[in-house]
Subunit: 206 residues, 2 copies
Amino acid sequence: MPRPTTPLLSQAGIRASALEIIDREGLDGLSMRKLAAALGVSAPALYFHYPTKEHLLDDVASEIMEKVDVSAFGHGWREGLLTWARSYRAALAEHPNIVPFLARGPGQRDASLRRADAIHGGLVAAGWPPREATMIGASTKYLVLGAAMGSFSRGFVDDVQVYLDRYPSLGDAHRLREHADTVDRDSFEFALTMFLDGLAARLSKP
Amino acid sequence: MPRPTTPLLSQAGIRASALEIIDREGLDGLSMRKLAAALGVSAPALYFHYPTKEHLLDDVASEIMEKVDVSAFGHGWREGLLTWARSYRAALAEHPNIVPFLARGPGQRDASLRRADAIHGGLVAAGWPPREATMIGASTKYLVLGAAMGSFSRGFVDDVQVYLDRYPSLGDAHRLREHADTVDRDSFEFALTMFLDGLAARLSKP
DNA sequence: CATGCTAACTTAACACCGTTAGTTGAACCA
DNA sequence: TGGTTCAACTAACGGTGTTAAGTTAGCATG
């Protein structure tokens, strides 16, 4: 059945279906054949729209990153960083199964360059020396990526016993699992606050 | 040639060879057949010593984590955290290609539990409330994992132009690449210092 | 000392993977 | 109307992790 009257596939549709599978079955759960089946099409048809699986995943990742907000540096560097970091983390927390892909390399996600410029510009405008502005951007990214990677919701419960002993609001393992998202967000917010406090002290002193 | 006089394989030997391949050719460069060939053996022979590739990689990761040092909390919480974080990061920086595997999930790396206890205990002994001690541990891990994941040496040069403009000691892209390790370490140390400064302020106040 | 069991390898094969080649016929432009 | 291009198809290639079945060395037991 060649060249249908109206095209069966589109890049956006492929991305959406791919992300659905990733969210539901994990990154390893996505294969080109399974994706094609979900779209009612044969696997090689996908290669007309994307040259490679890697490119497709790059695009999916870029789409997720579109939601990251770097626009708040007008309200001060602290607010700008907070908004950036929180929206960045939220975007990853919404699709945690994409994180292992992000860990594989930078890919073709060109939009990040624009963002890096916005962040750096905002920090420099607020009085940070350029070299430190760069490191602040990198550091914040570290926090976000690390939080996304080591999150409890993703199963990183190494320290589950420690949590059970010390996190007074949680009764047992079952409830910990239930509140994993909260624990994750609390720890991330804590890390971010401590980091920003350290920055503020450095900027105010010489 | 069945049941050789002296065994050809051992778990330690398999791990060592696997890590060698990962270091040299990346995580995707490791296949059971290639690993077997490097050991002068057929692929299914490996399954006598490891039930699955996943288990093997878990073991390799655990071995790397053995080098992490959590013993310095006797010299104060700041020194303890610094030593832990630096040795943790160093261990990952030595084998950056394992990081994408770490991002895939927690695995069977049971040694981390002991470490989590040591860290938490050290922090509590130094006067941190248990709940905050837990979050400090998580936050530090975020920094280390994020730094390992988003490192410049691993190709995350999104902001390469920004770096070129602002990092005065670097002349051009070639030299940036050359000094990627230094840039990584600088940013990590900066993040860690700011975080610890924020912590110190919090502990000294109320 | 013979017998049987287990250990540690072998080769063959399965199901799946990403991807390429070659084919088909509708849609579009001259 | 004719030719080209597009968007799908089926078939197939080389690779993957893993399982099954075969072979024999080493060891324990009668």
